[in-house]
């Protein structure tokens, strides 16, 4: 066992990257749930985003075009969910589970020609002298652009929910859809847009795995990240900055356990592999002890009975 082989600077830099798929998906789902919709199809939207992004990036040789396609693919799949739950008034839990199964199957079909193909690399953002700063440089200022965009999304969602009228209306719809309807707000339209936003971010999160983290295409490569993102939203008490904290915690432990495995720690690999899931959930359960309530209309079907 050789713990000195673990470089803390590289570890922290890598955890930010490891956390980004979860961060993107969870931020999107947070907006969906604040609008009062429970979309359990995050995993399905992520994997569809992963293959859409991968395929377009390979065909156009542009990773950026890949991420745009991933967002579009995730949003398109989420539109199916919106159709089922907002228009046909289907049960949200069942529809979300179906969406995940459908997304897994669809992505396997779309991805048949892409197994073993290498995607174009996305370069890191060149921040010039900032990247030269010792310690901070490699940790904070030498990453790919999507990672920064993910953090900007967290900040943007937080500010929008807290300071803007759009955010207030969105929260109102999630809190009490009957009252929002009575005041004349378009509940179904607002929810559909929120669902599509969540789908787009989930798709980008998936593409981050297939284009940057791994980077290659394998069936089912999201491997349950979408479910962790869902749990994260709940345990983060529907607060954006706590989602960031939870995602980094998960990413950090995931990265640490890989390093520990590499260093040959005498703990069975299975325990190390499950540790990020367990520790993230325990920490977030403790954090959520302040009982911040869920959005009042979360998961309830809205029907405008006049």
């Amino acid at each position: 066992m050789d713990l000195s082989a673990i470089n803390p600077i590289l570890l922290i830099a890598a955890l930010m990257s490891a956390a980004t798929p979860i961060l993107l998906a969870a931020t999107g789902e947070l907006v969906v749930e604040r609008a009062g919709v429970l979309n359990l199809g995050v995993e399905g939207m992520m994997i569809v985003g992963a293959i859409c992004g991968f395929a377009i990036a390979v065909e156009t040789n542009s990773p950026l075009a890949g991420f745009v396609a991933a967002a579009a693919g995730g949003a398109a799949l989420s539109l199916l969910f919106a159709l089922l739950t907002q228009v046909a008034l289907a049960n949200q839990v069942a529809s979300g589970l179906a969406l995940t199964l459908f997304g897994l199957g669809l992505s396997a079909l779309l991805g048949q020609g892409y197994v073993g193909v290498k995607p174009p690399r996305m370069g890191d953002v060149n921040l010039g002298p900032l990247a030269e700063i010792p310690v901070l440089g490699p940790i904070i200022f030498s990453h790919d652009p999507i990672l920064y965009i993910g953090i900007l999304f967290v900040a943007g969602v937080w500010a929008t929910l807290k300071f803007t009228r759009v955010g207030l209306v969105l929260r109102a719809v999630g809190e009490n859809h009957d009252a929002a309807h009575a005041l004349g707000y378009k509940v179904v339209r607002i929810r559909t847009l929120a669902i599509m936003f969540g789908g787009a971010l989930a798709g980008m999160g998936g593409a981050y795995i297939s284009l940057i983290r791994v980077p290659q295409w394998t069936e089912g490569m999201t491997a349950g990240v979408g479910w962790i993102a869902l749990a994260l939203v709940v345990f983060a008490s529907w607060k954006p900055w706590r989602v960031l904290l939870g995602a980094y915690l998960f990413g950090g432990i995931a990265q640490l356990q890989l390093n520990l495995q590499g260093a040959g720690v005498a703990i069975p690999v299975e325990y190390l592999a499950m540790s990020p899931y367990i520790i993230t959930i325990i920490v977030l359960v403790i954090l959520s002890a302040d009982k911040s309530a869920a959005p009042g209309s979360l998961g309830r079907t809205f029907h405008a009975s006049s």
Binding site: R171, A172, N176, D178, A179, L183, G184, G296
Partner: protein, 504 residues
């Protein structure tokens, strides 16, 4: 005086029912106009059309002589119509200022809005802190949020849908002061209620609806409450009558009953003591959410009580569940008809079986006697005039009033020795309510002891021998109802919660 709002021949039909049939009415600026009618008479549909939530099938509306056909509430608000809803349309997790901003077209920044909220609340004597979370407010305070939300739009017509059902008498008085002040400033008010004495105290004119049609208009100050009630129901009402019974020995006694709250938003019961005697009816009033549900649950056995706090005929029943208590003669009918008092998806026979099995001998050795259960259900249907095609119909298919008659009848016919009911006539039309009250009176006369928990003070004054009020989980000392004034009752209910009469 020219009319502010005029409705002509408004008609709105839903599948199977005409909610409004050629309704016409006129409201002048500054007029307080009452809209009276039983549940289902079409009051709510009518105001929803004025507020743009429902589109009329035929007829026309005018405001200040100009055609008015709002397609959505926004348009109605722009035309100067404000509405305070019966079930508050508020968002619990948001602050007062955020809630108010949501109801405005061009909401100013939150800081400016907070200042305006303070101004309006000072002017009209409705104290309210803009940054408080609505979920923490009392019912009276929540209503103030709705009223201020409307007032900030400077409405020319304010619609109020059953505004006083959640207020104490003192809070009602303050609300009326505010409304009179608004009316003096020229704002017309359309006031929906079925509390006739309030309408007589407040309103200038009244339009009475029955089954979607206008059946009469009157000047409430010059009409008796009884006449208005008879116009509402369309027949002569019988006043419940009772022969005086001397109370017998103590049946149920509570000794400092204290229970922690069972849910996050529940209320603990705090040292409730009372003695209930044979042949008497004890009325328990109080604003909703002050421990009524918890008290009923503690008495019915849904929540167990520690030893020594609850005695039925001298026997400690604190640790017994609902069924053993039923066997001993203590029955209960909770407030929520669907899902608590009755299982909506099950037939009336099955529902009769659910509480009646023990006392009516509907089961033997774990096997159900369906024939006897059906007989019992049909008995209830006959005795309480429950309108349904038959006992095999699902409880959920009955109208609220009919199901309420069934639920009360089911307990009354089990010959209880002590009966506890919560809101026995809530949402029931006037003639059915009278029948339910009469059944409770007859039960007491026959030697049972009855506790009626209700928010309808007129009902309690009519049938109860003694009155007590729940306030924050505490029960006031019971007082004989004879000679009790509304002011005393209000004080027992906790008085006004931090309200003051409108100044200026």
């Amino acid at each position: 005086m020219s009319s502010l709002l005029s409705l002509r021949n408004l008609t709105k039909a839903y599948p199977g029912v005409v909610a409004n049939d050629n309704v016409s009415l006129q409201i002048a600026p500054g007029e307080i106009h009452a809209l009276l009618g039983e549940n289902g008479a079409g009051k709510s549909t009518l105001v929803k059309m004025i507020y743009g939530l429902v589109k009329p099938d035929a007829g026309e509306m005018q405001i200040h002589g100009a055609p008015f056909a709002p397609v959505e509430p926004r348009a109605a608000r722009a035309a100067g119509v404000g509405m305070v809803f019966q079930h508050f349309s508020l968002f619990d997790a948001l602050s007062v200022a955020e809630n108010i901003a949501l109801g405005m077209e061009n909401a100013p920044r939150l800081r400016d809005l907070s200042r305006r909220i303070r101004e309006v609340s000072d002017t009209y004597g409705l104290p309210l802190a803009p940054d408080r979370i609505v979920g923490d407010l009392s019912a009276g305070e929540r209503q103030r949020v709705e009223i201020i939300r409307c007032l900030l739009q400077k409405p020319t017509l304010l619609i109020m849908d059953e505004p006083t059902s959640v207020l104490t008498p003192q809070e009602v008085e303050i609300l009326f002061e505010t409304l009179r002040k608004l009316s003096a400033e020229g704002t017309a008010i359309l006031y929906i209620s079925h509390k006739l004495e309030e309408i007589r105290a407040l309103c200038d004119t009244a339009t009475i609806l029955r089954l979607g049609k206008v059946v009469g208009e009157c000047i409430p100050r010059e009409t008796t409450a009884r006449d208005m009630a008879e116009m509402m129901v369309g027949k002569v009402l019988s006043t419940p009558s009772r022969a005086g019974v001397m109370p017998g020995p103590t049946m149920l006694s509570l000794h400092k009953l204290s229970l922690p709250s069972s849910t996050a938003f529940g209320l603990p019961l705090r040292e409730i003591s009372l003695e209930l005697r044979q042949g008497e009816i004890l009325g328990i009033g109080g604003v909703a959410g002050n421990g009524q549900d918890e008290l009923l649950a503690a008495l019915s056995g849904e929540i167990r009580a520690p030893a020594g706090m609850l005695h039925l005929k001298g026997q400690d029943i604190g640790g017994l569940g609902p069924n053993p208590r039923r066997v001993l003669g203590l029955l209960a009918a909770p407030e929520e008809r669907l899902g608590h008092a009755a299982a909506p998806g099950m037939s009336l026979t099955e529902n009769a079986m659910l509480t009646g099995a023990a006392r009516e001998g509907l089961e033997t050795g774990g096997f159900l006697n369906w024939q006897a259960a059906q007989g019992f259900a049909e008995n209830i249907i006959d005795a309480f005039d429950v309108r349904t095609p038959g006992a095999e119909n699902a409880a959920g298919s009955l109208s609220g009033g009919n199901l309420q008659k069934f639920v009360i009848g089911r307990e009354v016919l089990q010959r209880p020795e002590v009966l506890v009911v919560n809101q026995p006539t809530w949402g029931v039309d006037a003639s059915a309510a009278a029948a339910i009250r009469q059944a409770l009176l007859d039960l007491a006369e026959g030697g049972a002891a009855v506790i009626v928990i209700s928010q309808d003070l007129d009902e309690l004054m009519e049938i109860a021998d003694r009155f007590a009020a729940l306030n924050e989980g505490r029960l006031s000392a019971p007082q004989p109802t004879a000679g009790l004034s509304m002011e005393q009752i209000g004080l027992m209910m906790g008085g006004a919660h931090g309200m003051e009469v409108a100044h200026v």
